[in-house]
Symmetry: C2
DNA sequence: GCAATAATTATTTTCGAAAATCTTTGGAAT
DNA sequence: ATTCCAAAGATTTTCGAAAATAATTATTGC
């Protein structure tokens, strides 16, 4: 693995997890020290991340962690719903046994992690399995473009979810596990109408929850403070 | 404008227009000579283009112009239809007079260029105005993510259309101008059902035409020969 | 001859310094 | 006090060479 690839992974990790706060300037000399490498691999990574909209760039004025905003969250969620519902319909139509088994397996692994408490309750494992479950639902859609856009939007919305997960303020009233179970069941039953309705409801609930959290905490658009 | 930005524009231009053939290796020393700059700005541009899937990259083995394939064309067209129809519905709902005027103006400019023959019949101007027209239809959708995906997919499919335009083998049976006119009219009438149906038909026609052209010319997947 | 290996060449990747550009600071003029 | 300009400093951008890796060619042993 080249240094540029390591830089990309590390920066992406740190941005999505919020260790590099939204809006924060990404100075090459700082990053060079932080990640222990020269400018070249860092600039390559930053350019990749800029193309993915995780960092902003201004000519001759360097890079910053892309800011968060409620507008962007709403947009990303709405587009996700459209794209993922289409992809889910296609998957339900085209998916084979292998696809179905992948969903069962991903859901099982996710639920194991949701159930864990104490030292085993690793939030990043949980997040990875959450991604894997949603990815498994769409795996049979046979559309590389759709899957790429799914990944982009997942990463974009993940940035809003992470701080919430870390704060662990998830309201008790909501049983996400049951939502995932019902979604998987409808999908495996090849009931596209129910499945897409559940998927949309799942995202709208999450979005409205996140909107409340962020709207309350940072009224002027989630702009970072440092 | 920095050298890296110039490199990006030039490479993107040359790739989309096919001056750099699909599959062709993009060696830094060659590019350095071709565009008269050092490695650094070229690598930045190549990384950006890689993120946009216009070039492929393999670790320690350099870059290539991304290959073309009928599968990718079909995928891109199908996803375009979904995304653009959604965006068109949103635009029709949200668009104001300014949006409508933009469509009228873009269509007018496009038709002027379609009508030109001889030395004024510049294919790149035509292409730019075709893009501007379709972009104008969606301009009011109020969704940056949707517009970004539109741009990505437009660029991806443009690569298939350009060789056809250059060959000027467009069959006489098809009146693209009339299609654009009807599409604009339905949109300005805020008739979302008709407009999206026309948009879908427009793309399916183009796609089926391109499929024939490419399928006949290069049966094993459009892989470049150099 | 042919496979395996060493040497050579070609290419990518990375570094460190130089050049270019932006930002801040300090001082002079009004 | 405020505005303007120049100097100093900080930062990005670019280059050219060195290092690392891949691909090719030559050589050896059988």
């Amino acid at each position: 693995m080249t240094l540029a690839e390591k830089a990309y992974d590390a920066l992406r990790h740190d941005i999505i997890r919020g260790e590099l706060a939204p809006g924060r300037p990404l100075r090459l000399s700082d990053l060079s020290e932080r990640y222990d490498m020269g400018f070249s691999p860092l600039r390559e990574a930053l350019n990749r991340l800029h193309a993915e909209r995780l960092v902003t760039a201004e000519s001759l004025r360097g890079f910053r962690v892309a800011p968060l905003s409620l507008d962007e969250l709403h947009d990303a969620v709405n587009v996700r719903i459209k794209i993922e519902c289409d992809a889910l319909r296609a998957s339900i139509e085209l998916g084979d046994d292998n696809w179905a088994a992948g969903i069962v397996s991903a859901l099982y692994a996710l639920n194991l992690q949701v159930g864990r408490t104490g030292p085993d309750a690793d939030i990043w494992t949980l997040e990875a399995r959450h991604y894997a479950f949603h990815r498994a639902l769409l795996a049979a859609c046979n559309s590389p473009w759709t899957l790429e856009f799914f990944e982009r939007l997942y990463a974009a919305t993940e940035r809003y979810r992470i701080p919430t997960l870390l704060a662990a303020t998830q309201p008790s009233g909501r049983d996400v596990q049951a939502e995932h179970g019902a979604l998987a069941q409808a999908t495996l039953d090849r009931d596209a109408e129910t499945a897409t309705a559940l998927l949309e409801a799942h995202y709208r609930k999450t979005a409205s929850y996140l909107t409340n959290v962020f709207g309350a905490n940072e009224p002027d658009g989630l702009a970072a403070t440092g």
